[in-house]
Amino acid sequence: MDRLSDCLSGRYPGHVSRRRRTAKTFGLALLLGTPLAWAQTQIDVYIESVPSLAIGVDTLGDHRPPQLGPHSGSHGSTIVVDAHGLLVVEREEGVVVRARKSHGEPVAELRLAPGLGEIIRDAGSNRVFVAERGGDRLLELTPGDAHGRGLGIRASVEIREPHGLALTPDGNTLLVTSVADHELVGVDLRDGELRIAWRVALAPEPRGVAVSPDGKRAIVGFLSMGAVALVRLPEHQAEPPRVRYRSLEPRDQLRLQVEEFEDFAETHSALVEPPSRFEVPSDTGRRSARNTFAVAFVGHGLAVAPHELATPQLTRKPQNTDTYGGGESFSPITHTLSMLGAETLDGAAATAPIEQATIAVHMPRALAYDLSRDTLYVGGYGDDAVEAIADVSQRTVHASWRIRVGQPDACGIDGLAVDGDSLWIHCEFGRELLRVELGTQEEVTFGSKLDVTRGPELTKPIRPPEVEHGAELFRRAGDSRLTLDGTLACAQCHPEGRSDGLSWRLEGAILQTPMLAGRLVGTAPYKWDGQDRDLATSLHATIGRLGGHPDRVSKSELRALRAYLESLPPPRPPTPSNADAIARGREVFESSEAACDACHEGSRLTDTHQHDFETALAQVDTPSLLGLAHSAPYYHDGSAVSIEALLANRTTIHDMADTQNLTPAQLADLGAYLESL
């Protein structure tokens, strides 16, 4: 009992993993750039109790354990398991590694373009596919044997910035999300070929995709949209896919309440009904779903989508002060698992029942489902925790437990896979595999130790150490130097260094999360009002605004963050659909009539000056326009929902440019040019 109470109260060292060096030496395989011998270590990981999840209890799932689960390859990951071992994607390095099952030792690797998406395997045909995001290709691999012999590329097809992968149950179609083109692409795999069968438009920033066990539906997650796409897949060749969106954003809202004690008061957040439609409309307290990196199906045809719930506009009363960064007993961002059933009315996404519950992992980006246990594993990118949700497909309150694997070395979980009684975890930062021995369900006892093995490094990093360090700091949760009580992380609002598309209440203004990737080099000063003269100053200020302690962050850490941010490439523009229109649009952009380039000048498309737009900000820094197609909404307050609305002056900002005299054709060309940046 003492151990349990200690564990529950946080005193028990369940999260303090102690590495026990039991180095083993293995023989050399066909490796390039990997050590001749490597260390496999046991780490002590303890099962922590986390709150049960009341999700799917009323309307979703079935009363009995599922007999059938999702098919092999129903969604992609960074790990696949086959008869010869594991194939692992090292995204940053652009490497696919063949690793052994025993302890995740690498035996061979295949070098591709840096910046990979997901990997997936069709168990029936043993075909393996990789999204080469940085190379604009979908690749079919020859998986090779247990020694990695034969690991190579069998076929490829061009898809712009592919990321998420999912196979239909018959293995005939591979679904691919295209980040740059905002599309879902259906690739016909029949006859051993890769042939693009159809494309359908999606909202910006699609990521993970999963296919239902019956092969009729797919679900797609997004970074900057508060919904998942529910895609009705074609049953016949001539039939187009149909896309509907199901909101993940709850109707009820957060409100801050002050609880007064004898000698102090504390502010809490509480859920309340939204205001009456007869009150003044307000975004205060509304919660927005963001960062749905991974989606999956579990038993009984249920889909799951872990994501964040952000409350960007809260007000602390009566002080009327900002709540950016949270404080006391509330956080502006929590983590949620959404569970969706099939639509009760064909074609109407609004009738897809949904239930949600808060989960105890930070920045969930990896999923794996174990049918034999009916258990879903959710991996936290920010806190290196894995939460197990038992009986997830059944109408019950789900017992849940958690392990943390990020000590002493940071992990950055970006992939999970279940293989019998083992759960494989892939760490982005260590570039290594962890194997968790799950045992039987009866053995899940809080405070008990799990057998967890940390495998050797799978490949060498290609990023400089400083950039690697910066990337780890950028995603790190639980560090009270960086944010208040460590509840937040930079990557929550800036996933992949991009933007969550939200507008936050901050310092008396409503400010949109800016895109960072590709927009920081040569664009100083920073912040929407240009108050920070350089990036170090800006990082210092942001950490302070988030409730962290910038003075406790070392200069080397700030340098690392800066190096990471400056290393991020700009988002890739969509495939040009009309080069002539883009060229004409550029002429308009640079014309004396529109004179856009008067401020958005040079290769970074900014004059690095500030301008007065009669807004809540005294002056507004000219933002770079790179990656504009991925950074809606627009203006510092997010008041322009689209480029079209911005150019038509249907926003709160009215003085930026005089586009009134442009013809509709000129406006369309200008829009095409802006989306191509």
Binding site: M1, R3, L4, S49, S52, V57, H63, R64, S178, D181, W198, R199, V200, A201, A203, A227, P240, V243, R244, Y245, S247, E249, R251, D252, V272, P274, P275, S276, R277, F278, E279, V280, T344, L345, D346, G347, A349, A350, T351, P353, D391, R395, T396, V397, A399, S400, W401, Q441, E442, V444, V641, S642, A648, N649, R650, T651, T652, H654, T659, E675
Partner: protein
């Protein structure tokens, strides 16, 4: 069905312009908007009746005030096809709507919903083969998010205001008929009224707040005239800024000072901008809801329960008469709607319909059915529900409720169950114990115990017995339920109340709790501490806290235990220990068990968990067969043949197939409940917080 398919096909052909079925798009084309819309020739789904299970937080009546949509705190939506309480509400399968509107159409209803990210769905409800069915008409995806969507002309037209500030007129299938997307024209809200003369429409512009008249004529939208400037003391909203029902004026309500009773209503004629100012004062500091009743009157509702009917004739200078406003308080006033002189007010799981020209109102909703216990007939074909002030018997075939309400001077019921095929037993808190005829409900035998009872348990069999527990003394009473009389068989002093009450095993005469009295009915039980020490030792754990225990008819013992995790433990008795030999264990993670109920045959175990669910397990392996969530479950009962299980609690009860967990009968309420009350001026403004929206 054939007819309907043909109709849909005909419409499809008539409207098909190539955009109904989206073609695959090429890269970088914008997401399809109108291309996504289509006529859905689908069968739709039948709308099942069912009331709310939580407080109503919003009511959206149809413009003719003959029907309404209601939203509860869980985001559930119900369609009330009448507001007079004559028809049960229908469950509409829409979750968590951000905005709803409803219109009565030529064939039924049109429902529009905006979700929380601005995506829109439009449905129609039509009668088909005697039932109302919901069909999907079209969607506007959230990639083209909307601020507002309004149903016009009985659903034949829809008016949309996009987050991109475009105003659009759509036809019934989502095709755009007209739009306003002028450069620099930035409407944030719309107001409209429909009169016989047509639609009056204005756009609300910001910075400063202005009202721009729009024209909707022959399916064309256009801006007309100059924007009118108004005085508002806060941001524009639907309370302070509204069109008069005759569509002639825009009315702006404001207060002179914050939380002051001095108010003014600025009426601007849309035709010529002429201003009329009406001013007044009242005592309340609460900002009133403003309901413009017609061109001549408005109603102010400040939540005191007293409404002010105020003339809009400037010559009368805001002269007011008062009227009771049933159901109004400072919170419900914010969710009250008045359409065509009918006030509709949320009131817990009910709502109030108050015709302003009448002297009475009705309160409509489902009558709740909190249950103390429930029992099944031996063959499981009938269930008896123990209600607070009555009992109800329901057949699983006919679904007919037979309800008997206690006399008002009797204490609440505590327990009711079937003794056998022919008799039921009913126990009141005041100690009245009655045997009733199972067919007619007529009393057969009565026994009165002069004590307050807190619990009752029944053991069926050839000599059925009832165990009742006294709340005032630690003495339990065992009663023999004879055909002629109810006799006291024994008085028992229980040794422990820590683990659970005395519990009848299914075998007649066998009772378990802290005792293992298969042969000797009242043997001395082992102490709880001894049991827990022995159990921990047998399990090899440091501790084992028993939360409940039971025995099966063949004598196996079952423990619900907390020992680092929640576990079920099955043992067989031996002579050496009180616990017995451990035969099987099964972990439940962090889901603790409050009660174990073995089936009469002993092959299944039903469990009530602390976290609000019920599960059934194989008694031998302890493996779970199924689970069902019932967060309010407090009582379990088996049919004697073991085929059915009844679960009851404060939110009703249900009968389940014991093998599969499938729902066979559910009783969450006792049907539609309509109260008709005279309107009375309030004597107290005290609020019943539990009946208010959660704000």
């Amino acid at each position: 069905m054939h007819t309907r398919k043909l109709v849909c096909l005909a419409v499809l052909l008539a409207c098909h312009d190539g955009s109904m079925s989206p073609d695959p798009v090429t890269p970088s084309e914008p997401p399809p908007m109108l291309e996504q819309r289509e006529i859905v020739a689908l069968p739709g789904i039948a709308l099942a009746p069912g009331g709310h299970r939580d407080n109503i937080v919003d009511i959206v009546p149809s413009p003719d005030a003959s029907a309404a949509l209601t939203v509860d705190r869980n985001g559930g939506v119900r369609l009330w096809t009448t507001l007079d309480g004559t028809r049960e509400p229908l469950i509409v399968p829409i979750d968590d709507p951000h905005q709803l509107s409803l219109a009565r159409s030529a064939t039924g209803f049109v429902i529009e919903t905006l979700d929380t990210i601005g995506g829109a769905e439009v449905y129609e409800v039509r009668e088909h083969d005697g039932e109302l069915r919901l069909d999907h008409r079209f969607s506007i995806p959230p990639t083209d998010p909307q601020f507002e969507l309004h149903v016009l002309d009985g659903g034949e037209r829809l008016l949309a205001l996009g987050v991109d500030h475009r105003v659009r007129l759509l036809d019934a299938h989502g095709n755009e008929l007209s739009s306003i997307a002028e450069h620099g024209f930035v409407p944030w809200q719309l107001r409209h009224v429909e009169t016989e003369a047509g639609v009056t429409l204005v756009a609300i512009l910001a910075g400063p707040t202005r009202v721009q008249p729009l024209e909707l004529r022959e399916d064309r939208l256009r801006i007309v005239g100059e924007a009118l400037t108004l005085d508002l003391d806060r941001g524009p909203n639907r309370n302070d800024l509204a069109l008069t029902p005759d569509g002639k004026h825009i009315a702006a309500f404001s207060r002179r000072k914050w939380r002051s009773g001095e108010w003014k209503l600025q009426l601007l004629a849309l035709a010529d901008g002429r201003e009329t100012l009406i001013e007044g004062k009242f005592d309340s500091k609460e900002r009133p809801r403003v309901h413009l009743l017609d061109g001549a009157r408005m109603l102010l509702d400040d939540g005191t329960g007293v409404g002010r009917l105020i003339s809009l004739d400037p010559a009368q200078r805001g002269a007011a008469t008062t009227r009771p406003l049933p159901g109004s308080n400072v919170l419900t006033r914010l969710f009250t709607t008045v359409e065509r002189g009918v006030r509709v007010v949320p009131d817990g799981e009910h709502f109030i319909v108050d015709r302003l020209d009448g002297d009475e109102h009705i309160r409509v909703g489902s009558k709740p059915a909190p249950m103390r216990s429930a029992g099944l007939s031996p063959d499981g074909s009938r269930v008896i529900w123990t209600l607070a002030h009555g009992w109800a018997v329901e057949s699983l075939d006919g679904h007919t409720v037979q309800l008997t309400i206690h006399e008002s001077n009797q204490a609440p019921l505590l327990f009711a169950d079937f003794v056998d095929d022919d008799r039921m037993v009913v126990v009141s808190e005041a100690g009245a114990i009655e045997l009733l005829d199972a067919e007619t409900g007529s009393p057969l035998v009565r026994h009165d115990e002069p004590r307050t009872l807190v619990e009752a348990r029944l053991a069926r069999g050839e000599s059925p017995m009832l165990l009742v527990r006294d709340g005032g003394s630690p003495q339990d009473l065992l009663l023999e339920l004879g055909s002629e009389a109810i006799n006291v068989r024994a008085r028992v002093i229980p040794e422990s109340s820590l683990i659970g009450p005395w519990y009848p095993a299914p075998t007649p005469g066998a009772w378990t709790s802290m005792m293992w009295a298969r042969d000797s009915r009242f043997s001395t039980p082992p102490s709880e501490q001894l049991l827990e020490i022995e159990l921990a030792s047998a399990l090899g754990r440091e501790h084992a806290n028993i939360t409940d225990l039971a025995t099966t008819p063949d004598g196996q013992r079952l423990f619900a235990v907390w020992s680092g995790s929640y576990m079920l433990v099955r043992t067989l008795p031996n002579t050496n220990t009180s616990v017995g030999n451990i035969e099987a264990t099964r972990s439940h993670g962090n889901s603790g068990v409050a009660r174990i109920a073995p089936s009469p045959k002993g092959d299944l175990l039903a469990l009530v968990h602390f976290d609000g669910h019920v599960s059934v397990h194989d008694a031998l392996t302890l493996e779970r067969r199924w689970t069902r969530v019932d967060t309010h479950a407090t009582a379990l009962g088996w049919s004697q043949n073991g085929t059915r299980l009844v679960v009851a609690g404060t939110q009703g009860g249900s009968v389940l197939d014991a093998t599969t967990g499938e729902l066979e009968l559910e009783r969450r309420d006792l049907g539609l409940h309509v109260e008709r009350n005279e309107n009375q001026m309030p004597v107290s403004d005290s609020l019943q917080d539990d009946q208010l929206p959660n704000r």
